[in-house]
Amino acid sequence: MQLHNGTPNTALLIKNVSVHYGAITAIRDVSFEVKQGEIVTLIGCNGAGKTTLLKAISGLIKVSEGTISFKGDIISNTPAHEIVKRKICHAPEGRGIFLNLTVEDNLDLGAWTCKGTPIQKTSYQQDLEQVFSFFPRLKERRKQNAGTLSGGEQQMLAIGRALMGNPELLLLDEPSLGLAPQIIEKIFEITVKINQLGRTVLLVEQNALQALQIAHHGIVLETGKIALKGKSSELLASDEVRKAYLGE
C-alpha cells in the first residue's frame, strides 16, 4: 500500500499512532516523520512511551490506531521478522544480547535476515569489518561469551549486532543506559559516524543534552503524547526543554 503523505525523502512516517497495553494507553495519537539520512532523537522522562514507540516501529508490539510507514509502505502490525527484512534494525533497551553465545554468534544473528540471500555473500565480511572498525574491542573478544563483556562492550555489541542487518533505519533504545561518561561519549560519536555513512538513526535517550547535540531533529514525549518537536538546535534553545530536561 502506498501513502501519499510525506515528502519523497521521508524514511519513517508515523501517523496518529496509539498503542495500548491492555486498558492502559501508552502512546496517544503520535505523529512525526523521520527523513532519510537524519538522526532524530526521542527524549522524555521514564514512562513517556519512548521505548513503546520504538517497539511498535519494529513490530514487537501492536499498534491499536494509526499507521507507521517506511518509505511509503505501511509496516504497522506486521510481524517483527518481516520488518527487519525491510532494513529496520532495533538495538533493544537493556541491550538484549545473547549472553551465552559468543560475540561472533551474536553478530551472525544480527545478519540473520541476510542469510542465504546474495547480500550475505557480498556484504557480510564488509559489515563485520565495519562493526569491528567501530568497536575494535569486539574484535579482540569475538570468541568470548557475550555475558563476559563489560556493560559498555555489551552495548557496543548490541549496536554492532543491529548494524550487521545492514539497516537503512537504525533504532537505538537508550544506548547510554548505565554506562560511564567516556563510553557514552564514544557511543554517541559512533552514532554520528553510522549516520554519516548514510544510515538513518532514531535514537531514544534520557540523556537529552547529548542526544540533542548530535541529532538533527528532536521529539519530546510526555505521557504518551508529543509535547514538543522541532530542530534540535531550537529545542536546545527553548526554555521549556532547558527547564524540564536539561536541568537549568
Binding site: V84, F98, T113
Partner: protein
Amino acid sequence: MKPHGLQTLWVWLLPVAVIWILHFFCVSSIEPYYFTILMYSGINIILAVSLNLVNGFTGQFSMGHAGFMSVGGYVSAFLTTVLFEKYPVLSTALTAHHGWAGWGASDLVFLGSLLMGGLGASVAGYLVGLPSLRLKGDYLAIVTLGFGEIIRVLVLNIDTIGGARGLPNIPPYTTFGILFTFVIFTIFMVWRLVNSAHGRAFLSVREDETAAEAMGVNTTQAKVRAFVLGAFFAGVAGGLFAHYLRYLNPQTFDFNKSFEIIIMVVLGGMGSITGSVIAAIFLTVIREALRPLQTYTHVDFRMVIYSLLLIILMLTRPNGLLGTKEFTWFFRKKGRSIS
C-alpha cells in the same frame, strides 16, 4: 583458521566403522542381558539428544517426547508387521528382489519404515507444535504432557494396531549395527544443526526471545522447526525400540517415559550433547546396576537410590553434569575464515 571438513568427517565415520566391526565380530559374544542394556542405552541416547534440541538448545520445555516415540514406533511397526501380514504380495515382491549392495530386502523395508515412523512423528510434532509453541514455560509443558496422554489413549483405542493388547510379533530388525549407526547419525545431525545458522536461531530463542525477534528471527518458525526435528528423531528411536523389543504396548509410552528422557537431558546439562549421551548411558546402566541390591536387602531400594542420586546431582551441579560444555575433540566448532 582453516576449515577441517575432512578431519570432521573422519571423526564421525570412524565410530561408524568401529560399530560395524563390533557388529560383525564381537557383539554375538556379549551376554544377552548386557546386550539389552547396551541397546536400551543406544535408544535412550537418541531420545535424550533429540529432546535436548528442543528443551536444551531451543529452551522450549516439552514433556511429550514419549508421545512422539510412540507415534514413530507404531507407524514403523505397523508398516513392517500389519501391512505385510495383510498384503503378502508386498513381501514376496520384496524378497524376490534380492536387495541392494549387500542389504537384504528386509533391511530396506526396515529403513523405510523407520523413515516413515520419523516422518509420522514429525507430522504429529508439527500439529502439536504450531498451536502450542506460542505458549511458554509451564503452559507449554502441560500442553505437551497432555499431547502424550492423548496419543497413548488414541493408540489404546485403535484396534488395528492391537489396542490395549499391544502390537506383537514385530520382526527383530533392530541390530546393534543399525541402532548405533542411527545413534551416531542423530548426534551428528544435532551437532551440525546447533552449529549452523539455523541452530544459532534456536539458541537465540532460548537466550532472549524478544531480542531474537528484533534480529528478524521468526521465533515461532524456529520453535516449530526444533520441535519437528526433535519429534523426527524420537520417532526413529520409537521404530528402533519397536523392532528390538518386538512388542509394543501403549502403556510403555506414558508420561513416566517422557520424564525419564527429560531427566536424562537435565542431568546431562541442558544444551550439551555430550551431557545427554553420558546421562542416557548412566541412567540406563544405573537402574540395572542397582538391581542386585534387591537380592541382598529384599527391598527394592533401586528407585530410592536413583532419586537420591538425582537430588544430590541437582544440588551440587544445578546446570547438569556438563552444563553447556561439550567434549570438544568430537564436537569441534567449524573454523571460520574471518580474520
